[in-house]
Subunit: 158 residues, 3 copies
Amino acid sequence: MATKKLSIIMFSGDFDKLVAAFALASGSAAVNYEVNLFFTFWGLNAIKNKKGRKFTGKGLLARTFGFLMGGLNNLPLSRLNFAGASPKLMTHLMRKRNVATLGELIEASKALKVNFYACEMSMHILGLTKDDFVPEIKEVLGVPGFLKYAEDGETLFI
Amino acid sequence: MATKKLSIIMFSGDFDKLVAAFALASGSAAVNYEVNLFFTFWGLNAIKNKKGRKFTGKGLLARTFGFLMGGLNNLPLSRLNFAGASPKLMTHLMRKRNVATLGELIEASKALKVNFYACEMSMHILGLTKDDFVPEIKEVLGVPGFLKYAEDGETLFI
Amino acid sequence: MATKKLSIIMFSGDFDKLVAAFALASGSAAVNYEVNLFFTFWGLNAIKNKKGRKFTGKGLLARTFGFLMGGLNNLPLSRLNFAGASPKLMTHLMRKRNVATLGELIEASKALKVNFYACEMSMHILGLTKDDFVPEIKEVLGVPGFLKYAEDGETLFI
Protein backbone atom coordinates (compact mmCIF):
# COMPACT_ATOMS: atom_id res chain seq x y z
CA MET A 1 0.00 0.00 0.00
CA ALA A 2 1.30 3.42 -0.89
CA THR A 3 2.20 5.77 1.96
CA LYS A 4 -0.50 8.32 2.65
CA LYS A 5 0.54 11.79 1.80
CA LEU A 6 -0.44 15.38 2.67
CA SER A 7 1.08 18.33 0.81
CA ILE A 8 0.49 21.96 1.71
CA ILE A 9 1.23 24.97 -0.47
CA MET A 10 1.94 27.45 2.31
CA PHE A 11 1.17 30.79 0.66
CA SER A 12 -0.15 32.84 3.56
CA GLY A 13 2.02 34.44 6.19
CA ASP A 14 -0.87 34.95 8.60
CA PHE A 15 -0.21 33.72 12.12
CA ASP A 16 -3.49 31.84 12.50
CA LYS A 17 -3.18 30.11 9.12
CA LEU A 18 0.38 29.04 9.95
CA VAL A 19 -0.90 27.58 13.23
CA ALA A 20 -3.51 25.63 11.25
CA ALA A 21 -0.93 24.45 8.69
CA PHE A 22 1.65 23.26 11.21
CA ALA A 23 -1.05 21.61 13.33
CA LEU A 24 -2.14 19.70 10.19
CA ALA A 25 1.48 18.94 9.26
CA SER A 26 2.58 17.63 12.65
CA GLY A 27 -0.72 15.84 13.29
CA SER A 28 -0.50 14.05 9.95
CA ALA A 29 3.17 13.16 10.35
CA ALA A 30 2.35 11.73 13.79
CA VAL A 31 0.12 9.11 12.13
CA ASN A 32 2.79 8.27 9.55
CA TYR A 33 1.71 10.44 6.66
CA GLU A 34 4.40 11.74 4.35
CA VAL A 35 4.02 15.52 4.70
CA ASN A 36 5.36 18.08 2.21
CA LEU A 37 5.28 21.80 2.96
CA PHE A 38 5.95 24.06 -0.02
CA PHE A 39 6.56 27.60 1.24
CA THR A 40 5.78 30.39 -1.19
CA PHE A 41 5.23 34.17 -1.11
CA TRP A 42 4.27 35.39 2.39
CA GLY A 43 4.64 31.84 3.70
CA LEU A 44 8.41 32.15 3.26
CA ASN A 45 8.34 34.22 6.46
CA ALA A 46 7.79 31.06 8.45
CA ILE A 47 11.13 29.57 7.43
CA LYS A 48 13.49 32.53 7.56
CA ASN A 49 16.53 32.12 9.77
CA LYS A 50 17.70 34.80 12.16
CA LYS A 51 20.11 36.25 9.62
CA GLY A 52 17.53 35.97 6.81
CA ARG A 53 17.58 39.09 4.67
CA LYS A 54 14.82 41.56 5.18
CA PHE A 55 13.25 42.97 2.05
CA THR A 56 14.77 46.38 1.54
CA GLY A 57 13.87 49.21 -0.76
CA LYS A 58 13.05 52.88 -0.84
CA GLY A 59 9.72 54.55 -0.25
CA LEU A 60 6.82 53.87 2.07
CA LEU A 61 5.47 50.96 0.01
CA ALA A 62 8.76 49.14 -0.13
CA ARG A 63 9.25 49.62 3.59
CA THR A 64 5.77 48.30 4.35
CA PHE A 65 6.47 45.32 2.07
CA GLY A 66 9.67 44.75 4.05
CA PHE A 67 7.71 44.91 7.29
CA LEU A 68 5.35 42.20 6.02
CA MET A 69 8.33 40.02 5.11
CA GLY A 70 9.92 40.42 8.55
CA GLY A 71 9.99 36.75 9.49
CA LEU A 72 8.35 34.54 12.08
CA ASN A 73 8.20 37.08 14.89
CA ASN A 74 6.29 39.53 12.79
CA LEU A 75 3.20 37.73 11.60
CA PRO A 76 -0.22 39.33 11.45
CA LEU A 77 -3.46 37.51 12.16
CA SER A 78 -5.69 37.06 9.12
CA ARG A 79 -8.59 38.71 10.87
CA LEU A 80 -7.21 41.28 13.31
CA ASN A 81 -4.32 43.47 12.38
CA PHE A 82 -3.43 45.38 15.50
CA ALA A 83 0.29 45.72 14.77
CA GLY A 84 1.17 42.27 16.00
CA ALA A 85 -0.80 42.39 19.25
CA SER A 86 -3.31 39.77 18.16
CA PRO A 87 -0.88 36.89 17.64
CA LYS A 88 0.26 37.70 21.18
CA LEU A 89 -3.30 37.34 22.45
CA MET A 90 -3.71 34.07 20.57
CA THR A 91 -0.36 32.73 21.81
CA HIS A 92 -1.42 33.71 25.33
CA LEU A 93 -4.67 31.75 24.92
CA MET A 94 -2.77 28.76 23.51
CA ARG A 95 -0.41 28.71 26.49
CA LYS A 96 -3.25 29.17 28.97
CA ARG A 97 -5.20 26.26 27.45
CA ASN A 98 -2.08 24.11 27.23
CA VAL A 99 -2.13 23.90 23.45
CA ALA A 100 1.19 23.84 21.56
CA THR A 101 2.27 27.30 20.37
CA LEU A 102 3.26 28.01 16.76
CA GLY A 103 6.96 27.64 17.61
CA GLU A 104 6.29 24.28 19.26
CA LEU A 105 4.20 23.07 16.31
CA ILE A 106 7.04 24.00 13.93
CA GLU A 107 9.58 22.14 16.08
CA ALA A 108 7.25 19.12 16.25
CA SER A 109 6.94 19.17 12.45
CA LYS A 110 10.73 19.17 12.09
CA ALA A 111 11.11 16.35 14.63
CA LEU A 112 8.47 14.28 12.79
CA LYS A 113 10.41 14.63 9.51
CA VAL A 114 7.96 16.87 7.69
CA ASN A 115 9.61 17.87 4.38
CA PHE A 116 10.20 21.60 3.89
CA TYR A 117 10.54 23.03 0.37
CA ALA A 118 10.85 26.64 -0.80
CA CYS A 119 9.35 28.11 -3.99
CA GLU A 120 11.91 29.22 -6.54
CA MET A 121 9.76 31.86 -8.26
CA SER A 122 8.76 33.75 -5.13
CA MET A 123 12.36 33.65 -3.85
CA HIS A 124 13.39 35.32 -7.12
CA ILE A 125 10.71 37.99 -6.78
CA LEU A 126 11.67 38.75 -3.20
CA GLY A 127 15.44 38.49 -3.75
CA LEU A 128 15.91 35.67 -1.25
CA THR A 129 18.33 32.73 -1.39
CA LYS A 130 18.53 29.38 0.41
CA ASP A 131 20.92 31.02 2.91
CA ASP A 132 18.06 33.13 4.22
CA PHE A 133 16.18 30.07 5.42
CA VAL A 134 16.38 27.52 8.22
CA PRO A 135 18.61 24.52 7.42
CA GLU A 136 15.58 22.18 7.29
CA ILE A 137 14.75 23.43 3.77
CA LYS A 138 15.56 20.35 1.71
CA GLU A 139 15.18 21.81 -1.76
CA VAL A 140 14.26 24.89 -3.74
CA LEU A 141 11.57 23.86 -6.21
CA GLY A 142 9.48 25.11 -9.11
CA VAL A 143 5.90 23.98 -9.73
CA PRO A 144 6.85 20.77 -11.63
CA GLY A 145 9.20 19.70 -8.83
CA PHE A 146 6.50 20.26 -6.25
CA LEU A 147 3.89 18.36 -8.26
CA LYS A 148 6.13 15.32 -8.31
CA TYR A 149 6.27 15.22 -4.51
CA ALA A 150 2.56 16.01 -4.10
CA GLU A 151 1.07 13.59 -6.62
CA ASP A 152 -1.31 10.87 -5.44
CA GLY A 153 -1.95 12.54 -2.09
CA GLU A 154 -4.08 15.29 -0.60
CA THR A 155 -2.97 18.82 -1.48
CA LEU A 156 -4.08 21.98 0.29
CA PHE A 157 -3.51 25.65 -0.52
CA ILE A 158 -3.33 27.68 2.69
CA MET B 1 -16.71 1.67 -6.92
CA ALA B 2 -15.87 3.74 -3.89
CA THR B 3 -18.18 6.62 -3.02
CA LYS B 4 -16.84 9.94 -4.20
CA LYS B 5 -15.88 12.20 -1.38
CA LEU B 6 -15.33 15.90 -0.72
CA SER B 7 -13.87 17.15 2.57
CA ILE B 8 -13.53 20.80 3.51
CA ILE B 9 -11.40 22.20 6.32
CA MET B 10 -13.54 25.24 7.13
CA PHE B 11 -11.04 27.62 8.70
CA SER B 12 -12.37 31.00 7.61
CA GLY B 13 -15.30 32.75 9.20
CA ASP B 14 -15.78 35.12 6.28
CA PHE B 15 -19.33 35.32 4.99
CA ASP B 16 -18.43 34.96 1.32
CA LYS B 17 -16.13 31.98 1.92
CA LEU B 18 -18.83 30.25 3.96
CA VAL B 19 -21.27 30.80 1.08
CA ALA B 20 -18.74 29.17 -1.26
CA ALA B 21 -18.13 26.27 1.14
CA PHE B 22 -21.80 25.46 1.77
CA ALA B 23 -22.59 25.83 -1.95
CA LEU B 24 -19.83 23.27 -2.64
CA ALA B 25 -21.02 21.04 0.22
CA SER B 26 -24.72 21.00 -0.71
CA GLY B 27 -23.99 20.84 -4.45
CA SER B 28 -21.68 17.84 -3.96
CA ALA B 29 -24.05 16.06 -1.58
CA ALA B 30 -26.84 16.55 -4.14
CA VAL B 31 -24.92 14.38 -6.60
CA ASN B 32 -24.27 11.70 -3.97
CA TYR B 33 -20.83 12.70 -2.78
CA GLU B 34 -19.95 11.95 0.82
CA VAL B 35 -19.21 15.42 2.21
CA ASN B 36 -17.23 16.12 5.38
CA LEU B 37 -16.99 19.60 6.86
CA PHE B 38 -14.34 20.06 9.52
CA PHE B 39 -14.92 23.40 11.29
CA THR B 40 -11.88 25.00 12.85
CA PHE B 41 -10.84 28.43 14.22
CA TRP B 42 -13.03 31.23 12.79
CA GLY B 43 -15.07 28.66 10.92
CA LEU B 44 -16.52 27.49 14.26
CA ASN B 45 -18.72 30.59 14.08
CA ALA B 46 -20.81 28.92 11.42
CA ILE B 47 -21.93 26.14 13.74
CA LYS B 48 -22.58 27.94 17.02
CA ASN B 49 -26.03 27.53 18.47
CA LYS B 50 -28.00 30.41 19.88
CA LYS B 51 -26.75 29.77 23.39
CA GLY B 52 -23.17 29.23 22.14
CA ARG B 53 -20.74 30.96 24.44
CA LYS B 54 -19.23 34.16 23.23
CA PHE B 55 -15.52 34.56 23.71
CA THR B 56 -15.11 36.71 26.80
CA GLY B 57 -12.14 38.48 28.26
CA LYS B 58 -10.88 41.82 29.40
CA GLY B 59 -9.38 44.57 27.34
CA LEU B 60 -10.02 45.93 23.87
CA LEU B 61 -8.24 43.07 22.09
CA ALA B 62 -10.14 40.36 23.89
CA ARG B 63 -13.41 42.15 23.20
CA THR B 64 -12.59 42.49 19.50
CA PHE B 65 -11.67 38.81 19.42
CA GLY B 66 -15.05 38.10 21.00
CA PHE B 67 -16.75 40.21 18.37
CA LEU B 68 -15.10 38.16 15.63
CA MET B 69 -16.30 34.95 17.29
CA GLY B 70 -19.87 36.19 17.58
CA GLY B 71 -21.56 33.46 15.53
CA LEU B 72 -23.37 33.20 12.26
CA ASN B 73 -25.11 36.55 12.37
CA ASN B 74 -21.87 38.40 12.76
CA LEU B 75 -19.70 37.39 9.82
CA PRO B 76 -17.55 39.83 7.90
CA LEU B 77 -16.95 39.60 4.16
CA SER B 78 -13.35 38.69 3.22
CA ARG B 79 -13.03 41.80 1.11
CA LEU B 80 -15.23 44.53 2.59
CA ASN B 81 -15.41 45.06 6.31
CA PHE B 82 -18.09 47.65 6.86
CA ALA B 83 -19.25 46.41 10.26
CA GLY B 84 -21.43 43.69 8.82
CA ALA B 85 -23.19 45.77 6.20
CA SER B 86 -21.59 43.94 3.30
CA PRO B 87 -22.99 40.49 4.03
CA LYS B 88 -26.34 42.27 4.10
CA LEU B 89 -25.70 43.66 0.61
CA MET B 90 -24.64 40.25 -0.63
CA THR B 91 -27.64 38.52 0.96
CA HIS B 92 -29.85 41.17 -0.64
CA LEU B 93 -28.31 40.39 -4.04
CA MET B 94 -28.72 36.65 -3.48
CA ARG B 95 -32.42 37.08 -2.66
CA LYS B 96 -32.97 39.44 -5.58
CA ARG B 97 -31.35 36.96 -8.01
CA ASN B 98 -33.20 34.03 -6.48
CA VAL B 99 -30.03 32.31 -5.27
CA ALA B 100 -30.12 30.39 -1.97
CA THR B 101 -28.89 32.48 0.98
CA LEU B 102 -26.21 31.27 3.39
CA GLY B 103 -28.84 30.11 5.89
CA GLU B 104 -30.63 28.17 3.17
CA LEU B 105 -27.38 26.59 1.93
CA ILE B 106 -26.60 25.45 5.49
CA GLU B 107 -30.08 23.95 5.88
CA ALA B 108 -29.72 22.22 2.50
CA SER B 109 -26.36 20.78 3.61
CA LYS B 110 -27.95 19.40 6.77
CA ALA B 111 -30.90 17.94 4.83
CA LEU B 112 -28.50 16.28 2.38
CA LYS B 113 -26.61 14.58 5.24
CA VAL B 114 -23.38 16.52 4.98
CA ASN B 115 -21.21 15.46 7.95
CA PHE B 116 -20.27 18.22 10.40
CA TYR B 117 -17.17 17.86 12.58
CA ALA B 118 -15.54 20.32 14.97
CA CYS B 119 -11.80 20.75 15.58
CA GLU B 120 -10.70 19.78 19.07
CA MET B 121 -7.61 22.02 19.22
CA SER B 122 -9.32 25.24 18.24
CA MET B 123 -12.19 24.52 20.63
CA HIS B 124 -9.61 24.23 23.41
CA ILE B 125 -7.96 27.51 22.42
CA LEU B 126 -11.27 29.34 22.31
CA GLY B 127 -12.74 27.68 25.40
CA LEU B 128 -15.69 26.15 23.54
CA THR B 129 -17.42 22.80 24.13
CA LYS B 130 -19.78 20.65 22.05
CA ASP B 131 -22.71 22.30 23.88
CA ASP B 132 -21.93 25.57 22.13
CA PHE B 133 -22.67 24.09 18.72
CA VAL B 134 -25.66 23.03 16.68
CA PRO B 135 -26.77 19.42 17.32
CA GLU B 136 -25.67 18.36 13.81
CA ILE B 137 -22.02 18.24 14.96
CA LYS B 138 -21.37 14.50 14.85
CA GLU B 139 -17.96 14.41 16.46
CA VAL B 140 -15.17 16.51 17.90
CA LEU B 141 -11.97 15.48 16.11
CA GLY B 142 -8.24 16.01 16.05
CA VAL B 143 -6.18 15.97 12.85
CA PRO B 144 -5.76 12.15 12.71
CA GLY B 145 -9.52 11.64 13.11
CA PHE B 146 -10.22 14.08 10.31
CA LEU B 147 -7.66 12.48 8.00
CA LYS B 148 -9.41 9.14 8.36
CA TYR B 149 -12.68 10.61 7.09
CA ALA B 150 -11.00 12.65 4.35
CA GLU B 151 -8.68 10.06 2.86
CA ASP B 152 -9.11 9.01 -0.77
CA GLY B 153 -11.20 12.04 -1.66
CA GLU B 154 -10.80 15.67 -2.57
CA THR B 155 -9.83 17.93 0.35
CA LEU B 156 -10.07 21.71 0.37
CA PHE B 157 -8.86 24.31 2.87
CA ILE B 158 -11.19 27.32 2.89
CA MET C 1 -2.26 5.64 -17.11
CA ALA C 2 -4.73 8.40 -16.44
CA THR C 3 -3.66 11.93 -17.21
CA LYS C 4 -2.59 13.83 -14.12
CA LYS C 5 -4.94 16.60 -13.25
CA LEU C 6 -4.95 19.84 -11.24
CA SER C 7 -8.16 21.77 -10.62
CA ILE C 8 -8.33 25.15 -8.93
CA ILE C 9 -11.44 26.82 -7.53
CA MET C 10 -10.38 30.43 -8.06
CA PHE C 11 -12.41 32.28 -5.45
CA SER C 12 -10.08 35.12 -4.50
CA GLY C 13 -9.60 38.24 -6.58
CA ASP C 14 -6.37 39.18 -4.78
CA PHE C 15 -3.48 39.98 -7.08
CA ASP C 16 -0.92 37.85 -5.25
CA LYS C 17 -3.23 34.83 -5.05
CA LEU C 18 -3.97 35.11 -8.77
CA VAL C 19 -0.22 35.16 -9.46
CA ALA C 20 0.13 31.98 -7.39
CA ALA C 21 -2.83 30.33 -9.14
CA PHE C 22 -1.69 31.10 -12.69
CA ALA C 23 1.90 30.11 -11.86
CA LEU C 24 0.54 26.75 -10.64
CA ALA C 25 -1.77 26.45 -13.67
CA SER C 26 0.84 27.23 -16.32
CA GLY C 27 3.59 25.29 -14.52
CA SER C 28 1.38 22.20 -14.29
CA ALA C 29 0.16 22.47 -17.88
CA ALA C 30 3.80 22.72 -18.99
CA VAL C 31 4.43 19.21 -17.63
CA ASN C 32 1.31 17.84 -19.32
CA TYR C 33 -1.17 18.08 -16.50
CA GLU C 34 -4.80 18.64 -17.41
CA VAL C 35 -5.58 21.91 -15.63
CA ASN C 36 -9.08 23.18 -14.81
CA LEU C 37 -9.67 26.67 -13.46
CA PHE C 38 -13.12 27.31 -12.03
CA PHE C 39 -13.58 31.04 -11.50
CA THR C 40 -16.07 32.07 -8.84
CA PHE C 41 -16.97 35.20 -6.83
CA TRP C 42 -14.06 37.69 -6.74
CA GLY C 43 -12.02 35.42 -8.99
CA LEU C 44 -14.38 36.29 -11.87
CA ASN C 45 -12.45 39.57 -12.05
CA ALA C 46 -9.54 37.74 -13.62
CA ILE C 47 -11.54 36.71 -16.68
CA LYS C 48 -13.58 39.80 -17.46
CA ASN C 49 -13.19 41.18 -20.95
CA LYS C 50 -12.76 44.86 -21.66
CA LYS C 51 -16.46 45.37 -22.19
CA GLY C 52 -17.34 43.22 -19.16
CA ARG C 53 -20.10 44.83 -17.17
CA LYS C 54 -19.15 46.55 -13.99
CA PHE C 55 -21.31 45.89 -11.01
CA THR C 56 -23.64 48.83 -10.68
CA GLY C 57 -25.98 49.94 -7.96
CA LYS C 58 -26.84 52.81 -5.69
CA GLY C 59 -25.28 53.78 -2.41
CA LEU C 60 -21.74 53.71 -1.05
CA LEU C 61 -21.74 49.97 -0.41
CA ALA C 62 -22.88 49.07 -3.89
CA ARG C 63 -20.29 51.39 -5.40
CA THR C 64 -17.52 49.88 -3.29
CA PHE C 65 -18.70 46.42 -4.31
CA GLY C 66 -18.51 47.60 -7.93
CA PHE C 67 -14.99 48.87 -7.36
CA LEU C 68 -13.95 45.45 -6.06
CA MET C 69 -15.43 43.83 -9.16
CA GLY C 70 -13.61 46.19 -11.52
CA GLY C 71 -11.65 43.54 -13.44
CA LEU C 72 -8.04 42.56 -13.89
CA ASN C 73 -6.55 46.04 -13.68
CA ASN C 74 -8.08 46.68 -10.33
CA LEU C 75 -6.90 43.89 -8.08
CA PRO C 76 -5.83 44.43 -4.49
CA LEU C 77 -3.03 42.50 -2.80
CA SER C 78 -4.22 40.16 -0.03
CA ARG C 79 -1.91 41.79 2.47
CA LEU C 80 -1.47 45.46 1.53
CA ASN C 81 -4.37 47.51 0.36
CA PHE C 82 -2.94 50.81 -0.73
CA ALA C 83 -5.49 51.55 -3.46
CA GLY C 84 -3.79 49.38 -6.04
CA ALA C 85 -0.27 50.64 -5.47
CA SER C 86 0.96 47.34 -4.09
CA PRO C 87 0.29 45.19 -7.14
CA LYS C 88 2.30 47.84 -8.99
CA LEU C 89 5.23 47.35 -6.61
CA MET C 90 4.97 43.58 -6.96
CA THR C 91 4.76 43.77 -10.77
CA HIS C 92 7.80 46.07 -10.71
CA LEU C 93 9.70 43.48 -8.65
CA MET C 94 8.61 40.69 -10.99
CA ARG C 95 9.84 42.60 -14.06
CA LYS C 96 13.10 43.54 -12.34
CA ARG C 97 13.79 39.91 -11.39
CA ASN C 98 12.75 38.67 -14.83
CA VAL C 99 9.80 36.69 -13.54
CA ALA C 100 6.65 36.46 -15.69
CA THR C 101 4.02 39.06 -14.73
CA LEU C 102 0.40 38.14 -14.00
CA GLY C 103 -0.64 39.06 -17.56
CA GLU C 104 2.11 36.86 -18.97
CA LEU C 105 1.19 33.95 -16.69
CA ILE C 106 -2.44 34.22 -17.85
CA GLU C 107 -1.36 34.25 -21.52
CA ALA C 108 0.92 31.26 -20.89
CA SER C 109 -1.99 29.40 -19.28
CA LYS C 110 -4.17 30.06 -22.32
CA ALA C 111 -1.40 28.97 -24.71
CA LEU C 112 -0.91 25.75 -22.73
CA LYS C 113 -4.62 24.92 -23.04
CA VAL C 114 -5.58 25.38 -19.42
CA ASN C 115 -9.38 25.00 -19.22
CA PHE C 116 -11.29 28.05 -17.99
CA TYR C 117 -14.76 27.63 -16.45
CA ALA C 118 -17.04 30.19 -14.78
CA CYS C 119 -19.32 29.56 -11.80
CA GLU C 120 -23.01 29.83 -12.58
CA MET C 121 -24.19 30.78 -9.09
CA SER C 122 -21.80 33.66 -8.55
CA MET C 123 -22.53 34.98 -12.06
CA HIS C 124 -26.22 35.04 -11.10
CA ILE C 125 -25.51 36.87 -7.84
CA LEU C 126 -23.36 39.47 -9.57
CA GLY C 127 -25.59 39.81 -12.64
CA LEU C 128 -22.89 38.73 -15.10
CA THR C 129 -23.24 36.69 -18.31
CA LYS C 130 -20.77 34.78 -20.51
CA ASP C 131 -20.50 37.90 -22.71
CA ASP C 132 -18.73 39.70 -19.88
CA PHE C 133 -15.83 37.27 -20.00
CA VAL C 134 -12.84 36.53 -22.21
CA PRO C 135 -13.60 34.07 -25.05
CA GLU C 136 -11.44 31.36 -23.45
CA ILE C 137 -14.26 30.53 -20.99
CA LYS C 138 -15.32 27.10 -22.23
CA GLU C 139 -18.39 26.60 -20.11
CA VAL C 140 -20.52 28.04 -17.34
CA LEU C 141 -20.82 25.39 -14.66
CA GLY C 142 -22.51 24.59 -11.37
CA VAL C 143 -20.88 22.53 -8.63
CA PRO C 144 -21.81 19.09 -10.09
CA GLY C 145 -20.38 20.07 -13.49
CA PHE C 146 -17.15 21.20 -11.89
CA LEU C 147 -16.85 18.05 -9.79
CA LYS C 148 -16.99 15.93 -12.93
CA TYR C 149 -13.99 17.73 -14.41
CA ALA C 150 -12.07 17.78 -11.11
CA GLU C 151 -12.54 14.18 -9.99
CA ASP C 152 -9.51 11.91 -9.56
CA GLY C 153 -7.07 14.81 -9.50
CA GLU C 154 -5.72 17.38 -7.07
CA THR C 155 -8.14 20.19 -6.23
CA LEU C 156 -7.20 23.48 -4.59
CA PHE C 157 -9.34 26.34 -3.25
CA ILE C 158 -7.51 29.63 -3.69
